[in-house]
Amino acid sequence: MSRRIIACEVFKPYLDKLLEESGVEAVDYLEIRQHDHPELLARSIQSIIDETKDVDEILLFYGLCGNAILPLVSKGIPIKVLRVHDCAAALMGSNAAYRKRFEGNPHKRYHCLSYGERDDEYFARTSPEYRKISEEYGEDNADYVFSMLYDKFSTPVTYIKLGLDGEESQIRRKEEGYYSVIEGDLGLLRRMLKGDDDHVCVTLHPHEKFVGIYDYEEILTTVNRNHDREKTREE
């Protein structure tokens, strides 16, 4: 079965490893930062979907991601998306594992190999991002932004370790106590790559749309695109 893979670059080190195991395929990676802006992310993904031809399916390594995937449309090729809220659940290997960690701990931030690098670069006071905000809006505003985005959430930051090169040095680079390390699980990503597993993904067919469920099991589903119209007629 031929397919196209579109993924958030947060998954790059892990998909590179898994695809090495199962035979190399090209992946279209989209910037992590796009997750800050769900509408833009949806447009970026949809434009890749729209230009895709001659494959049997499209695998999307995204979850609900702040509802970014809800507007997506299949114009012929089925689209499979991870049945998760976000990348933290995907890297922990299950929604149940994520729920256990998340509930009662909303202060926690999660890092992993790709996110850790992004944070070092993106959030540090010495980063280009800080300098950019500081130059444009003043140091006081830059400090405020960084305190809201970064300092507000308590440490230790939960680091999801998946046994890849570079993780240990990343963890060591941070001051002691910064990271609380947990073992992740690539099982969910692996099963998604194997395909045909409704537990790990939801498939969007033409004439369907995604609908968020927002629990910790089903997460999202699909309904007929005419569903709302039919409902209105019934009423």
């Binding site: 802006h37 609900l64 702040g66 809220h85 909303p106 991002e129 505003n141 985005l149 968020g212």
Partner: protein, 212 residues
């Protein structure tokens, strides 16, 4: 105040110039301008611009935070003047961010809109458990409950709050309103919320009409 004043105030909010926002709001009040006019034509007009830019993808989270902070500086100055004299509040409103969610920028903007429309707000803050919403309504006699979330992972708690009101026998005596970036009209309908609007201004106007 002339148009140039409001343009300067709007620019000061969008650029995060908190000292200028502070100065301009005080100056306008001293000159007898209504706090509601400063709020509507200055502070909220600025946030409307930021919201449009956000929607178009020309600004990101830092710019929204910077503008919201400047807005709050202006609001703190205007707030004492936003009370409606001897008039009673239109209604008491309990609001908060649901359990397991610490994001409050949107919730605070809703609180601000409601106050400027003559509602009394009881702000429970962030990470609010369902029982706390119910308790606040029992203690205050509020007729409206507003809850928000930014994370899809915390949206499950909206349902729990609705359920908590049912169990307390209070579901029919309060209007339950939901909002937040991931919240949609479909979701609001699924959990049997009474009101959903995509932005704070539209919501405040909707609530005002509903209770008229």
């Amino acid at each position: 105040m002339d148009q140039a004043f409001y343009e300067e105030l709007i620019l000061s909010v969008t650029r995060g110039k908190v000292k200028d926002v502070d100065r301009l709001c005080r100056e306008a009040l001293e000159k007898g301008v209504s706090a509601f006019k400063i709020l509507d034509d200055g502070l909220l007009a600025a946030m409307q611009i930021v919201a449009e830019r956000w929607k178009n993808g020309t600004v990101f989270i830092p710019e929204v935070l910077i503008a919201a902070r400047a807005l709050n500086v202006g609001l703190a100055i205007l707030e004492p003047y936003l009370v409606l004299g001897n008039q009673k509040p239109k209604a008491k409103v309990v609001l908060g961010t649901v359990k397991d969610d610490l994001h409050d920028i949107g919730k605070n903007i809703v609180g601000l809109m409601l106050k400027s429309h003559g509602f009394e707000c009881i702000d429970l803050g962030v990470d609010v458990a369902p029982a706390k919403f119910v308790q606040a309504v029992k203690e205050s006699g509020a007729k409206v409950v507003c809850m928000s979330a930014l994370l899809t992972t915390s949206m499950i708690h909206f349902t729990e709050v609705v359920q908590a009101f049912k169990e307390a026998g209070l579901r029919d005596s309060v209007l339950i309103c939901v909002g937040g970036a991931p919240v949609t009209a479909t979701f609001a309908s699924q959990i049997e919320a009474d009101i959903f609007e995509p932005d704070a201004v539209t919501f405040a106007e909707h609530l005002e009409r509903r209770l008229a």
